[in-house]
Amino acid sequence: MGREAGGALNTKKVFQAQGLTKVYTMGAVQVHALRGVDLDLYEGELVVLLGPSGSGKSTLLNILGGLDTATAGEVTYRDHNLTSAADNELTEYRRQHVGFVFQFYNLIPSLTARENVAVVTEIASTPMKPEDALAIVGLGDRLDHFPAQLSGGEQQRVAIARAIAKNPMVLLCDEPTGALDSATGVVVLEALERVNRELGTTTVIITHNADIAGMADRVIHLSNGLISDIRANETKKAPHELHW
């Protein structure tokens, strides 16, 4: 499962999850976001997590990224057990290994594009230069623009630059095109695809848009807190071939 950049299968597991359960208490109501998820993710693969809203996609992603902890079950990242990790270990894990991209970009409005990337490169151990990261996403000429001066697509590409600038092992993207029109979405997906291809970063993209699934190595369906289907794409589509 999974492929090396050259197309050969790669069976090195990055994530292993068993029986992941997550229960939220929202006021008086208990929400079962995950009901026992078993999942392996492999080095260098591009995975699309599909599912309707409320299916537990974001929860799963957050647990994989060390943003949240599971109520029950176990998840490991290489030889790190994320389930039993303390808060500062999770922080360290995120700092060294994970890049995030969010639906609403979550840029810091008071910082320019370059500075938004620098926020991350300043604390990473082997970062690229913020300018280089922005060049990868095609924003080499927008370095000193504040978020408010950038379009949605541009903002999301800054967010991707910020996520990849530390040279992370995994890139976790939560609805990266959710707030964008389709043309802009394609540009953003191209940036993600390029990072996955050129840097070999394990990439997980959450979407409820089934059309995006075409660019994945594997497509994982979630519904109602459980994995309902895992499917490998025989042929990956390039982002510009996607339409929605």
């Binding site: 929202m26 943003l67 922080t91 360290e92 995120r94 995030f100 500075e115 300043e122």
Partner: protein
Amino acid sequence: MKTLDRKLLRDLWKMKGQALAIALVIASGVATYVLLISTMNSLTQTRERFYQEYAFADVFGSLKRAPEGLRTRISEIPGVAQVETRVSAEVKLQVTGFPEPVTARIVSVPDFGSPLLNRPYLRRGRMVAPWRDDEAVVSEAFAEAHRLGPGDAIGAVINGRWKKLRIVGIALSPEFVLQVRPGALSPDYKRYAILWMGRHGLGVANNMDGAFNDLSLTLTAGAHPDDVITRLDAILAKYGGLGAYARKDQMSHRFLTEEFRQLQRSADIFPAIFIGVAAFLLNVVVTRTISTQRDQIAVIKAFGYHNWDIGLHYMKLVALIVILGIAAGLGIGAWLGRGLGNIYMEFYRFPYLNYEVQPSVAAKSAAINLLAALSGALLAVRRAVNLPPAEAMRPEPPAEFKKTFMERLVPQRILSQPTRIIMRNIERRPVKALLSVIGISMACAIMVAGRFSKDAVDYMVEIQFRQTQREDMTVTFVEPTSRKAVYEMKRVPGVEHAEVFRSVPVVMRFGHRSYRTSIRGVEPGAGLHLLLNEQLRVITPPRGGILLTDYFRTILGVHPGDLLTVEALEGNRPVLQVPVAGMINQFIGLMGYMDLDALNRLMKEGSAISGVYIAVDSLRRPEIYRRLVEMPRVAGTLVREDEIRNFYETQAEALLFFTMVATVLAATIAFGVVYNSARIALSERGRELASLRVLGYTRGEISYIFMGELGFLTLAAIPVGFLVGKGISVYIAKALESDLYRVPVMIDSWTYSFAAAVVALSACISGLIVRHRLDHLDLVAVLKTRE
């Protein structure tokens, strides 16, 4: 610069209005503290230096007359280091072009060499030449008041004889830093002077050649003043000793100490209020800033920043605001302190004022403020830090609302929808609303407490000078005189009425406590000088007892019905047991009052009087003044109207200064609290208000929802502020209470109105500034933005 620090600066710039309002509150606190403490320290240091350089004595005593030879015996008292004897006299002065009565205390200086103790500081001219009996050195304040200088002449009635004195020098003295005539409330530079004359000349004029009637001494290290005073009193008793006293009871020193105490008390209270308000504001603002930056915090954490990085980040934001406030406060405090120092220099005659803001004061103030502010913000920051990133990523859940208590009380149809919104908002966060009310009420309290001293003074003057002392003038005689002297007084044209009194210096003892004062004997049925009991009703001393100032309860622990031991310091110095018949209301000084005949009988001296209260025809005052100066037995005259006017004149500048400072400070707090609350409400509820605008509400209607809450809180805060202000006033009054004076807690309704007006106006102004923003809400943009 780190990228996060850059974010910090930009965040700070974006919230500059709020940051400035908080910095102003902090600056006010620091400035008040620095102002009060630095002025007090500077004055204390100046005083200590002046005392030391000009040899201010440790113990003082006066007596009727003793031969100079007694000096040796006094110097042999264990614990006495240096003794200096002097001749001192109370005299009448005549100043050309100033027809009113002027009195002076003349003290002698040695004919050769400078005085051992209480050395005058010569500002201009020279000291008196040896053996000259027609030269005098004059106190600076008096010389300034009459534009006198070396070379000018004044007339003096010394021991009944008129004499022309040539002024040769202008001086100050550690003994008379505050030149208050005994019994007066405030310095009167025009009508009271200190003069220095040669010992020989003054001695001869007062029949004191080879004798003395005043002495001062210093103590050896470790000597106890009370022991020395007991022995000194024993020696002087035979010579008409009037009771020696330590430096702490010396009039000028006492007044200074009391003033410093007042500064210290104020420094305890007011800065604490500002610090409290600032900490509260920082908590509110940081809480809000953090809640608007929830997603930013989440993303920063998601990328691997540690909790303490985030904590430090927001703490830096707080520290920047606080440091800004501290820096401004130190500057303003030093500037105001210099101004206050100069005002004090009008009262307190020091040769110089070493005004400085001691680094320790600045450091202490800065540290206290920083610590308080950081701890105020700490809670909010902790909450932000502990927020799990995944949760922080989600928008804050909508606030929970419920129907309010008020709504259940009032029929539904009375309350409009907007009014319900206002009430639900207040009831949803009762603690925050309460703190806002407390914050705004502090502004009101500061105004009330800041103006309280003026009201108290008005009340004191009303009771003391208008209801009690109805005489126009008080004339005192050189010595106890036959009662017949009153007829001489009544014959003066223009004198309409005269009533006599007898004043006897005494030591009162009760239990192990004692107090040196005087007893005044008054005639029954007197109409000029009245006594008021504690219920402010006129009371006459009964024949068989004494009436005491109410504060004797505290000083001696004596109550009506107790038997008081009275030791007269005059005549045959009888020691008597007198029953306490009642207490009287008196704000200034401590005294006993007895029936005149009863007092005379106890003193075994026939019908002696010490002075006369007179009512006069005001048109004939100049003539009366002239006649009084000419009467040899008249030692001095106090004119009531002059006292009142002078009192207000000397206090006016200081009162104005404090009122102004209090007003500015109160306005700062009111503005700071209301502006910040409004800005936060706008940021929290901009969406809601914009939605209402989209639904068709007018600007006025949403302003009502928005400002109504603040208006309600401000209105609720004002009465609370009245109470707190009164409480602070009571505390200050209690703390300042002493035998010198008691400040009544009387707050004028005008002060309350003024305080409420300042607070309401500040609230309105800050409300209007925010309303301006409200009017320019970009409806579409606000609705688009994700919370």
